[in-house]
Amino acid sequence: MKKILYILQKEFIQVFRNKTMLPLIFGMPILQLLVLVNAATLEMKSIDMYVVDKDLSSLSHKLINKFEGSPFYHVSGVSFSIDEANEAIEKNQADFIMHIPYGFERSLMRENSTQVQLLIDGINGTAASLINAYSSSVINSFNRNIIVDLTKMPQIKELNPIAVETSYWYNPELNYKIYMLPGILVILVTVISMFLAAMNIVREKEIGTIEQLNVTPIKKFEFIIGKLVPFLIIALFEMAFGLLIGKLLFDVPMVGSLGLLFGFTVVYLLVVLGIGLFISTISSTQQQVMFISFFFMLVFILMSGIFTPTESMPLWAQKVNIINPFYYFMRVIRMILLKGSGFWDISREFFSLLIYAIIILSLAVWRHRKVA
């Protein structure tokens, strides 16, 4: 065991003596959290709308005003021609067209119903459905106002026999940032620890010191533990640092137990570092490590559920996620922080990762070769 301490001592000296390492460890989290949490949002702001008003009635004006008055919309063009409007969509100058047909107001007066057409650019499906939802709610609220105006009756409950009262649990204001921050933090901690670990052993291979270590009687598991623990400590520190930033700058709620979160993080990091060390033992240059880890990282991140709920992925994708460490942590960090989940709520993820850690670390120890 004492040998491991000597390796730890050496690794820490090397990390803190490396001039690019400290800015990376301290600077990167601040920068990434600030930039990404603010940038990676699904909230729609300043949606470009193109108005084709063929009715030019007071009612159609009221409807357009309703949209203009909303902070979410920006009228990027007005025309009588639907062709011109289509062109604007093709040139990416508008996100959707609101087409108010001739006879819009008259038909409402005579037949008590009328029509308006929304043509939405569907390239980005998520954005399109959000635009649809936003715009429909604007038009619905316009609807209710008309009824009040036309019938001169106060808005009474009978008009809405079944009232839907929505309340969003755990994130009542649907603040996207407090949902994104834990996700970004997961990526940050993972990237730093996996790369550091994977680069480390292969660096010793490149400069040749690994050979000197291999002629010593050091045991394989002592070597792997000696390489693992320093990065575990650095990553835990990184996690704490990121949470602090989240608390101070974004006021992320921390409903659950931080002790449980860090306990889970340790198990998670064992998996991530194990993968890093494993990649490192099968590679012989830093380039190889970069390519292999980049490939896995990209697939894992996109499938992790940071942007899209994993439950709505196809079944095979959900099966693939069994080996995706991000997937477990992405769920659990949000559950603990935002919902206050306890150990039994996350026990399935906890034990899955624990088994994963044992397997991948055994693989890394087994694959680490002292003899060629």
Partner: protein, 243 residues
């Protein structure tokens, strides 16, 4: 000269192949306890391959290899406790200081903290390294790095030390200094197994073997080899064998 009788390395019919290429072709030799054994050969003759097998870094394809009384196949970790190794790249950590390197290598050989401390002090004293003890390795000249790498390789008092072209790239005076250190180690009872392609260094060895294309073509004391090949010096011996 001391009488060397006991075998500390025994190699019988050692073969190492890389695919179709035969790097070591049926080598058999013994190294006596306490001697300085020179392992000579041109670049690519198979010296490094053999030294890696002897120090447990590489598996032989076939043959029996005993080092310090242990089989390198079955008792590799026991072999490793008893040997020191210094490669061509003399693997010190460039971003650690002299002291930190010594402490690290001493530590992973399982030496006690107190022992490491005392021995480091006496080493720094003996090599006159007071001024550079806290300098990073990368800031030191090549000659110093070689001396420190050698000191690290024998820090745990191994029975044998393997030196793979330890004196590449330095001037004759620095090489001479280095050989003084080898003699000191030898005097303290450590068997020295050294590869080189400098023929003047061959003269410093008790016995030398000369390899060519994976085979040992000559093995004896430098004086005997010169007699055997009717040569004035080791240079001529070497040229006659390699041609």
């Amino acid at each position: 000269m001391l009488k060397h009788t006991e075998n500390i390395i025994e190699v019988k019919n050692l073969v190492k192949k890389f695919g179709n290429f035969v790097a070591n072709d049926n080598l058999s030799f013994e190294v006596k306890k306490g001697e300085i054994f020179g392992f000579l050969g041109a670049n690519g003759a198979g010296k490094t391959t053999s030294i890696k097998i002897l120090s447990g870094l590489s598996f032989p394809t076939s043959g029996d290899v005993m080092v310090a009384g242990f089989d390198v196949y079955k008792e590799r970790e026991k072999v490793k406790k008893n040997i020191g190794y210094m490669s061509q790249k003399f693997s010190l950590y460039e971003d650690l200081t002299v002291r930190e390197n010594i402490r690290f290598y001493g530590g992973i050989y399982g030496l006690s903290g107190k022992y490491i401390k005392e021995k480091t002090e006496s080493l720094i004293e003996r090599l006159k390294m007071k001024d550079i003890q806290d300098s990073l390795i990368k800031s030191l000249p090549l000659g110093w790095k070689q001396k420190i790498a050698f000191s690290v390789a024998i820090f745990h008092n191994p029975k044998i030390v393997f030196l793979d072209e330890p004196t590449g790239g330095v001037d004759p005076i620095t090489r001479r200094d280095f050989w003084e250190m080898i003699y000191e180690a030898s005097d303290s009872g450590i068997t020295v197994f050294v590869t080189t392609h400098y023929m003047d260094e061959a003269e410093y060895c008790d016995r030398v073997s000369i390899m060519d294309q994976g085979r040992i073509e000559g093995l004896d004391t430098p004086a005997e080899l010169k007699k055997q090949f009717h040569a004035k010096n080791m240079d001529e011996v070497f040229l006659k064998i390699a041609r």
